[in-house]
């Protein structure tokens, strides 16, 4: 292994209420592939954003090629040779490959763009990388894998010395992944420093030289890949002290009636053959890493996204759900992870939001019975302990926790017995979190059945009676809370095709 090309030392970064990076150190050597691993929210992306100048660090130093540097934006980092290949591709579909690679820095011939030279340069670039792509092809005609190669070529053409791959294989087929690995190995030969962010344990073992693990914004440790096992890495990822009491025993008997049964649900790449059962009065946790397909599964069940196949049974009866309207009729309510976008109408009052799914109950002839609307909204708000001046308050003026309660009230108003909570406490402060937890337990004890999608391990362990673990669109495991450990969940959540 070679000399250190990039050294990040004692990097500290706080956002309001979150200590995102706690004195993290990380280094990359010339000619190595260095994996950066950690759970969702461990701080990997934040660290890379600090490096490339998208975020400003609070303290710490970045040394690059022996000099201390501070990039102010991605363009500066790029110019210096530090380039990120993003998970989502930034390509202009209508332009051809060469035009995309040189976008923003086109070769000119007088005032005319010199397409010929750009094509020529692209061809040279591809030759150097052993990539077989026609520079004159239209970008949108290429496969995702090929597009990614172009993205890499573009990075190289910036004379990159450090390349950061952010989950590069998420959208690729097996064959494309092999091609990608060949290119990464070539780049390593050429003494570039490579940072490789991925959740896929098997890839880490195959392609990387060292692994650095982060957890909750802290640096945990660095291992030599070939000297460690998957279990070593998993243990470092989850070795967290659980402050809150995890649930140790489920109060729901195993033969409680099944209220929702999903069989062989398919909906695109993110939902493949998912089957599970939800019992009455149960909180079923859905765990997994980012992009595991949990939200997609929920949206497919709820009819918000189309499904290709699969059967859904509510209380033993088969139901056809093609739209949220059908789902609501079947008694399913969905609380989106993005409340502002999908959950509430912020410029409307609490009362108006509460009755939105069940307005028919509040009609007097063709007119809305606003008195009744307010009365019911008030009752629900009181039972949920929503803090508000009155039900005529606009929802936009409430805190996150109270907004969440308004969405819960909406579904309770509709008498939904099955509630899907998607990241119920995201963006909600600690005190309000506990209240939401209490509320969910109360709802479950009253006979509502809850699916809880959560990326927070502590939340999963604290709330769930059973846990379904997903990875890349497939259900990879199901655990009863009594037998659950963080390690077991993490093992199911990281792909290991072996």
């Amino acid at each position: 292994m070679g000399e250190v090309i990039l050294q990040m030392k004692d990097i500290d970064k706080s956002f309001p209420g979150v200590h995102a990076l706690d004195h993290v150190s990380f280094s990359v050597e010339k000619g190595e592939v260095h994996a950066l691993m950690g759970e969702n929210g461990a701080g990997k992306s934040t660290l890379m954003k600090v490096l490339t100048g998208i975020y400003t660090k609070d303290s710490g130093t970045i040394t690059y090629e022996g000099k201390e540097v501070e990039f102010h934006n991605a363009r500066e980092a790029q110019a210096a040779g530090v380039v990120i290949v993003h998970q989502e591709l930034n390509m202009v579909g209508h332009l051809n490959v060469a035009q995309n690679i040189f976008i923003g820095r086109e070769f000119k011939k007088g005032i005319k763009i010199d397409d010929k030279k750009m094509i020529e340069e692209s061809r040279k670039l591809f030759e150097k990388l052993n990539i077989d792509i026609d520079p004159t092809a239209t970008m949108s005609d290429l496969t995702v894998g090929k597009q990614q190669m172009c993205e890499i070529a573009k990075a190289i053409s910036h004379d990159a010395k450090v390349i950061i791959f952010d989950e590069p294989t998420a959208a690729l087929t097996e064959a494309e992944i092999q091609d990608l690995f060949k290119i990464i190995r070539d780049l390593r030969e050429q003494q570039l420093g490579i940072v490789y962010i991925s959740h896929r344990m098997d890839e880490i073992k195959v392609i990387t030289d060292r692994v650095t693990v982060m957890r909750d914004g802290c640096y945990v440790g660095t291992l030599i890949t070939k000297d460690c096992t998957k279990d070593d890495i998993v243990n470092m990822m989850v070795g967290r002290v659980i402050y809150e009491e995890p649930k140790t025993k489920s109060m729901v008997s195993e033969d409680a009636p099944v209220v929702l049964k999903v069989e062989h649900l398919n909906a695109g790449k993110m939902v493949q053959d998912v089957s599970f059962e939800l019992h009455k009065g149960e909180i079923l946790g859905f765990s997994g890493l980012m992009g595991a397909g949990r939200t997609e599964t929920a949206r497919a069940i709820f009819g918000a996204d189309p499904k290709e196949s699969g059967d859904i049974y509510v209380n033993g009866e088969k139901v056809v759900i093609n739209s949220p309207e059908d789902a609501v009729k079947a008694g399913i309510g969905y609380l989106s992870e993005d409340r502002k976008r999908f959950g509430i109408v912020v410029q409307k009052t609490i009362a108006e939001n509460t009755t939105m799914a069940n307005l028919s109950e509040f009609m007097k002839g063709i007119f809305i019975n606003k008195k009744k609307e307010k009365k019911i909204a008030k009752e629900l708000a009181d039972s949920l302990a929503t803090k508000m001046p009155s039900v005529d308050e606009l929802v936009v003026n409430l805190s996150g926790g109270n907004q969440q309660k308004v969405v819960i009230a909406k579904w309770l108003c509709k008498n939904c017995d099955i509630l899907i909570f998607d990241e119920p406490t995201r963006g909600i402060d600690v005190g309000a979190k506990n209240e939401i937890y209490k509320l969910m337990n109360k709802l479950a004890s009253e006979g509502k059945s809850i699916i809880m999608i959560s990326s927070e391990m502590t939340e999963i362990l604290r709330m769930s009676d059973r846990i379904v673990v997903m990875c890349e669109g497939k259900k990879t495991g199901e655990l009863r809370i009594e037998e659950t450990t963080q390690e077991k969940i993490m093992n199911f959540a990281t792909r290991d095709v072996g």
Binding site: A304, S323, A327, K329, S336, Q347, K348, M356, F367, S390
Partner: protein, 324 residues
Amino acid sequence: MKKEKTAVKLKQELIVFLVVIALLTFFCLASENFRQYTTILTIMDYSYYIVLMAIGVSFPLITGGVDLSIGTGLVCYSLAGGYLILHCGWPVGLAMVVTVLFGTIIGVINGVLIGVMDLPPFLATLCTCMITRGLGSICSQNTGISWPTAGQPGSWFRSIFKLDIGGTKIPLGFIWVLLLAIMMHFVLRHTKVGRYIIAIGSNKEAAILSGINVKFYHIMAYTISGLFAALAAIAYSAVFKTVLPGTGAGFELEAIGGAIIGGVSATGGAGSIIGTFVGVFVICLLKTGLPFIGLQANWQQIVTGFVLIGSVMVDIIKKRREKK
């Protein structure tokens, strides 16, 4: 809390109302000729069809869309109705029913294109705008058509809008459009259709995920718009002597402008029909008043443009403040 909220809403309508009063006072002071009863009649004549279009188009605007087809649509429906009376000998009453139906159907088509087929509202209604313009010309065989005028059988319908009692003309139409405005104000505020149309404009995704049949209510919004364009067609036919094919483009801009001056949010999700009603009179007053102080009709357009910018700015600044 509630009181404060309605106070704010009323305040906005009140401001526009005060602007109308101010304009009236200004023109009355500035021009002797303006201070005539006939001026009121002229303003009224001009206002009916714009008010009716504006009431209708408020609904698509509140969903966050727009309906550009109402202007040429109006002329098309009017020509079709007139053709039935003149060339087919239909009674006026029946022709009016068909006219209304015609407009409603075009509205439904707009609604289906936008709500079900997901065409952008601008594009969909631009297409129906062109189609209705063409249809209108075909209906009338490229000549102007007059609905029955005084003395002819069927001319009674003109007195719906302007009653002639012994030579004194009474702008009766004002009462009808005011009643319609109040009615639609209630539809928007107190019925399911209104509530859901606002919800769509405010947060479509949330509306869908609440299990609301968004497609249906989208269609409803454009149907209301089409229906009111047709009612405007009847008002137009009653007020003006001859309807010419190929005209009508641009009418919709006055209606949309009036709605926005009256507080309908240019980005959807908010608005009131009473506000729209008052807003249109700002435009009508400028249109009829400015020539009295020696400014050409062209100036009226420029002034209206600036007034519009002003009211949209108010909307944007308000939204920005709410975000904070």
